[in-house]
């Protein structure tokens, strides 16, 4: 059974020379028959023979003293060889190599484009993301995030910095929350949270930001930002109170660009106290309760993609969407660059709590906020999508009496309108595809719909 793809190098052959004179003409199957030196060798007739000129020493001189002589390609047909593509079983390789007409048999490995890793330079900028999301069209339909609260659950937001960089959302200090007394919401040192806020404002420039400062300057296990999950439990309880209170916003979008990097951070699977796999964990219950109150909750898929995982993943890149990041009632966001290529660090599914995770992809790794050289990680992809949802919510506010406005309905809208990437349909790398502003506008914006004739 042919199984291995190889490149077969044939010595000069007039049957191969003719199609090789054209770079596009494929080989007819018939001329190949005389070349078959072994059974179970399947040539690819769509692969036109490629002529490989002989390499000769310049001027025909011979090497006499051991020093290398200059070489050049011989343009004549004499001595040229021809490359064909074939599939064959391992047992046929030696038989093929032994044939007089065969100069060599070589592997033909799969090659893929170089994926973006976390230290790769930025690709494009926030203006490109704005264009890809068709933000101008969204704005034309008043899909700007106006009247919608976007909670940036992170390390704190600096509103003045946002203004200096062209973003002028409303800000609610009253509805914000911080882990520490004395931290003034909206005035936190510029960092990861401000990057996330900037990215949410790309598609939702008129939203109302909430600064939900959960991540502390020093992680319990590292030197950078971090928190304990119990800090997030408190933050989500605060957001539940916001939606259950008298000043309930017309919609609340909750963007979370954080999570666990390695299973050793948690109790093991099967332990009754485990978070990663356990829907009864207090934070997973808290997420479900907040969604039941009408919040649209997004979580980053994580940065443990197999091609270039974050070092904190410690090499674990499968089943790496832990706990709430793969909760059935959240939208889990993977990352793609502006060329619609998945970034190599974006975690792939399935999720631990839900099989089909991530749900959707968002743009990342572009030059944007200026906080970092690039707005990157699934950290950036998540608020980009959160901004799009806030734009949708401008036209489709939550109404507990209308199932079409439920968080589940919004998630279904986002995934059903996504531009498919990767394998057809759902896949664990991109979810249902990258969020598509144009299709969302067509679905949500009544003004954009074609009017019936005579209407």
């Amino acid at each position: 059974m042919p199984a291995r793809r190889v490149i077969v190098e044939y010595r000069s052959d007039p049957e191969l020379a003719r199609p090789a004179s054209s770079s596009v003409k494929a080989l007819e199957a018939e001329p190949l028959e005389h070349l078959l030196p072994a059974e179970d060798v399947v040539f690819d007739p769509a692969f036109a023979p490629v002529r490989l000129p002989a390499i000769v020493t310049r001027g025909g001189r011979r090497e006499e003293d051991g020093a290398p002589l200059p070489t050049e390609a011989d343009p004549s047909a004499e001595g040229a060889t021809y490359l064909l593509r074939a599939e064959l079983g391992d047992a046929q390789i030696e038989a093929l190599r032994a044939h007089d007409a065969v100069a060599g048999v070589f592997s033909d490995p799969v090659v893929e484009p170089c994926l973006t890793c976390i230290d790769s330079p930025a690709l494009g900028d926030d203006a490109d993301v704005e264009e890809l999301l068709r933000v101008a069209d969204l704005r034309g339909c008043e899909m700007t995030g106006e009247g919608v609260m976007v909670a940036i659950v992170d390390g704190g937001v600096n509103v003045a910095y946002l203004a200096e960089h062209g973003k002028h959302p409303s800000f609610s200090a009253a509805a914000s929350w911080g882990f520490a007394i004395g931290v003034k919401p909206g005035s936190v040192a510029v960092g990861h949270g401000t990057m996330c806020a900037f990215d949410a404002c790309i598609a939702a420039p008129a939203c109302t930001l909430l600064d939900i400062a959960v991540l502390r300057p020093f992680s319990p296990i590292g030197t950078g930002l971090g928190a304990l999950l119990s800090d997030a439990v408190r933050a989500f309880s605060h957001l539940q109170g916001l939606l259950a209170g008298p000043d309930r916003p017309r919609a609340l979008v909750v963007s979370n660009s954080w999570g666990m990097f390695h299973p050793s951070w948690d109790l093991p699977p099967g332990d009754a106290g485990n978070f990663s796999d356990n829907p009864n964990h207090p934070f997973n219950r808290s997420v479900g309760a907040l969604a039941a109150l009408g919040a649209d909750i997004l979580f980053a898929a994580g940065n443990c993609g197999p091609q270039c995982p974050d070092s904190r993943c410690q090499g674990v890149s499968s089943n790496a969407i832990y706990g709430a990041n793969g909760h059935p009632q959240v939208l889990t966001v993977a990352g793609v660059d502006i060329a619609n290529e998945r970034v190599g660090y974006s975690s792939i599914g399935p999720g631990r709590l839900t099989d089909r995770k991530p749900d959707v992809s968002g743009y990342t790794h572009f030059k944007g906020s200026g906080v970092f050289p690039s707005d990157s990680g699934t950290s950036a992809a998540t608020p980009v999508v959160a901004g799009v949802i806030a734009a949708v919510r401008s036209k489709r506010a939550f109404d507990s009496a209308d199932p079409a406005t439920s968080p589940a309905a919004i998630r279904a809208l986002i995934t059903s309108t996504a531009h498919d990437l990767g394998t057809a349909g759902y896949d664990y790398e991109h979810g249902y595809g990258v969020v598509d502003g144009a299709r969302l506008r067509d679905e949500v914006c009544e003004e954009a719909r074609p009017q019936p004739a005579g209407g």
């Binding site: 119990s230 666990m260 485990n274 009864n280 934070f283 904190r312």
Partner: protein
């Protein structure tokens, strides 16, 4: 190592001292600054953060209570951002 004690209390959020009494805990066994936090108030679920020294007592108290799927001692793992490496 501290853990999250989630318990069922259908009458609404209890005071911390009520929780201490329910589970036979001392004030030093819990994180008073964390307090009592609602996780799923519609389902009557609340949580306190129990220090290592109070875990055995909490575990024993849980075993004496009527079983509830939401009750138990749960992990409190660290979390970190999925963002760019390094400082801004």
């Amino acid at each position: 190592v501290a853990a999250l004690l989630q318990f069922h209390h259908p009458g609404g959020a209890p005071q911390l001292r009520e929780v201490l009494a329910l589970f036979g805990l001392d004030p030093a066994d819990v994180d008073a600054e964390f307090g009592v936090v609602a996780t799923d108030p519609a389902a009557g679920l609340f949580v306190v953060r129990v220090e290592n020294r109070g875990l055995e007592e909490a575990r024993a108290a849980l075993a004496r209570r009527a079983p509830h799927p939401g009750e138990g001692l749960f992990s409190d793992p660290p979390v970190e951002p999925f963002g760019p490496a390094g400082d801004p």
